[in-house]
Symmetry: C2
Subunit: 442 residues, 2 copies
């Protein structure tokens, strides 16, 4: 999408003051690798789902500084730095986990290699994209898993920043949601959009001289007239039992669905199912919504619910609105570097990763190793080993699929990732990461 808010300024000021200092004394050209990873998962989570890769590849060519931006930057940057930014194009390499892969603490989700100058300026934008999208996808995957095959619809746009909403719809779709309420997500990413009516539509038909039961029926008739009998009618504006009766009266027994948005959803779903069946609407589906999260979704498993609408908890990451990812310099001119002098927990060096599994497909271990040096198979383990690190950018050029197929592939990857988890890994209750991460040193 053509967007003249160039991504360059979606950046912390210090990236550019560091750049200025490094350009001035020549260190800006040192060859570096930065790694994007999470030291830990959000409290109690068993796994995370990588999301943001496609958006990064979309943003990378937009990471530029036009005259307007340079006018602002001239207030605190010298002419050499300004000249560098005016001509900026990332020319390095990016390797990383494919979008939709599971990740665990210490997984090298992204490795960015190039001059210090070109790698450091990407820090803020990369972290913004991955910390947001990954937080949403990770929460969404738990909901998908809790729903046990029933479709989920993302409807949280109103609970988050209007642009974050579009990315959240995309991340939820990657994680296995069936659709989103957000229209821009359909235009920009092809996420199927869904939606029918809110309470305000039923209330619009209110009249001083008529009881709500009659005016609700008028509203339902208007909706069916415009959207057909396969529409979803919202039945809890006034009274659910009357609402269901009105819904079938308006649409007939082939009504597509009813939605319940409040109250004790399990009890209501059972009552409504029974009422619908009595009215002959045996194929009419029941959609529930209203402050659902992975726990309440799981709690409704035994109820006659056909699909779930999820809003607030999805777009806020269900308690973990950001993914704790950091972007750290790990290598300078081929030398591993790290923040503290202590070598207790080495994180330095450019790394790749793979994942071991049993022959059944259940994963057992995340293996992180020096880039380009995968562990010899058969040594200490004859378990299947799958490489996770793939090339995304080479010399500034995107070398992976970014089309509509990429989103579909990410969905497949999440689904197979969830199937590969040991059963403890699918528990919603707080616990340890589903598999350990093993760091292989040189």
């Amino acid at each position: 999408m053509n967007d003249p808010v160039l991504a360059g300024l979606l950046t912390d000021k210090y990236e550019l003051t560091m750049l200025a200092a490094a350009l001035r004394d020549g260190t800006a050209d040192r060859r570096t690798t930065f790694e994007l990873f999470a030291r830990r998962l959000p409290e109690g989570r068993r796994y995370g789902v990588v999301a943001g890769t496609g958006r990064l590849l979309e943003a990378l060519p937009q990471f530029r500084f036009d005259d307007d931006a340079c006018g602002l930057l001239a207030q605190f940057l010298d002419p050499d730095t300004l000249g560098y930014l005016r001509d900026f194009r990332f020319g390095g390499d990016i390797d990383g986990y494919a979008e939709g892969e599971l990740y665990f603490p210490g997984s090298p989700v992204l490795s960015v290699s190039g001059s210090f100058a070109e790698c450091v300026v990407l820090e803020t934008l990369l972290l913004s994209i991955f910390n947001h999208d990954t937080a949403i996808a990770s929460a969404a995957a738990r909901m998908v898993s809790a729903a046990g095959g029933r479709p989920l619809i993302e409807m949280g746009s109103r609970r988050t920043h209007e642009r974050a909403a579009v990315a959240a719809a995309r991340a939820a779709y990657i994680a296995g949601f069936a659709a989103s309420s957000n229209l821009q997500a359909q235009r920009q990413y092809g996420v199927p959009a869904r939606g029918t009516a809110a309470h305000s539509f039923s209330m619009l038909y209110a009249r001083e001289d008529e009881p709500n039961e009659l005016t609700e029926l008028a509203a339902f008739r208007a909706q069916v007239d415009a959207l057909g009998v396969d529409t979803t009618l919202l039945v809890d504006t006034y009274d659910v039992t009357t609402g269901v009766a009105n819904a079938v009266a308006a649409a007939g027994a082939t009504l597509g669905a009813v939605r319940i948005d409040s109250g004790e959803l399990g009890v209501l779903a059972r009552q409504v199912r029974e009422q619908l069946n009595q009215l002959g609407a045996t194929q009419t589906r029941i959609v529930v919504s209203g402050d659902l999260d992975e726990f309440s979704i799981a709690g409704l498993r035994a109820e006659p619910v056909d699909s779930y609408g999820v809003g607030t908890s999805l777009v806020t990451g269900s308690g973990a609105p950001t993914a704790n990812m950091v972007y750290k310099l790990v290598e300078v001119e081929g030398m591993a570097v790290q923040k503290r002098s202590s070598h207790k927990e080495s994180r330095g060096g450019h790394k790749d990763a793979g994942r071991r599994s049993r022959l059944t497909g259940t994963i057992t271990e995340e293996v992180v190793y020096p880039a380009g040096r995968p562990p010899a198979t058969g040594l200490g383990s004859d378990e299947p080993f799958r490489a996770l690190t793939t090339p995304l950018v080479r010399g500034g050029q995107i070398v992976t699929d970014t089309g509509a197929g990429a989103l579909a592939a990410a969905r497949v990857l999440v689904a197979s990732g969830l199937r590969s988890l040991p059963w403890e890994g699918l528990k919603l209750a707080p616990g340890e990461p589903a598999i350990p991460t093993v760091q292989i040193r040189v």
Copy 2:
């Protein structure tokens, strides 16, 4: 800012299917009022801070549907509805709390009046803007209050969606933050940008044959050379004591500031203050950062800290990433309407609000009353009464200041709002709203 992502599609699909149904049967023209309000504050909060008004007024003229958008909408909308959207301009009225006002449960933060058609389509975008910006400003105000006059710098861009980051920087600034790390927030809203260096800059100077103490000194010298002695040097990359010694060695005793980003910040601040004083750098300031929130900020009050850098907790609303605001139809053709038939808690009708205070300025009560009918003063109370509802849009035209002065005015309003709270209202611990909201019926 000119942005061709027209705001129209940043919308839930059901706003437009409701529109289609209402246009088809003529109810789309009914005169309505929708109200944006919060039924409750986030758990335990004493007050909220309204933010988003300026962004709403910025977005309103962009709420349009171009040919590209209409191409998508043609997949599910009839030609009449498409024609309506193609020519869409909001032509109604908006009244509301000024940006920066405190709000409480039931405060009518925004009232949107016009045809059902023009009011309902704004729902998603309005809620996105206010739920996000208000959540951030409300958390930020608690941090400002906890900091007791010491400056706060917002540096959370990397922990939230890249566009949400810009709005978060703006909201934090409204709430009283001194600056932000985000450059786009400076360009777009004039929020002062700050920032100097990250750990990666010190690590960039690492060499196999030199100890970290020496290479850190080289990094500091490079930074001072580029940014001057008034810069802020980050002293905890390897060892804080060595870092402080290197900092003063590189910049001299007139070094602007040192930043500590990890560890037990209170203890470190005291040690660093003592060390700086011994080195003659008595005017060098101490900036602390690293997972700060309002509680840890308050916990550092007794320590020699000069300013705070706040990231994650700010952009995630410190536990409340969304503000619970809803947008409800309250009036149709002059008749109050509400969701349930029960009249126990009436919310129907177009309302205005004012706030009572003692003569000392301490506020005592939020008063919500039928629009245009303020309570008679002197009746039952001789406390000062200030009207909160102001006209923002009349007949589609913005009638309030939206320039640079508006942001400054919002800052003043938050500051005076915090001063007006009863002392219990400033407590960080969970509790009830600082003042009650009284609903006056007709």
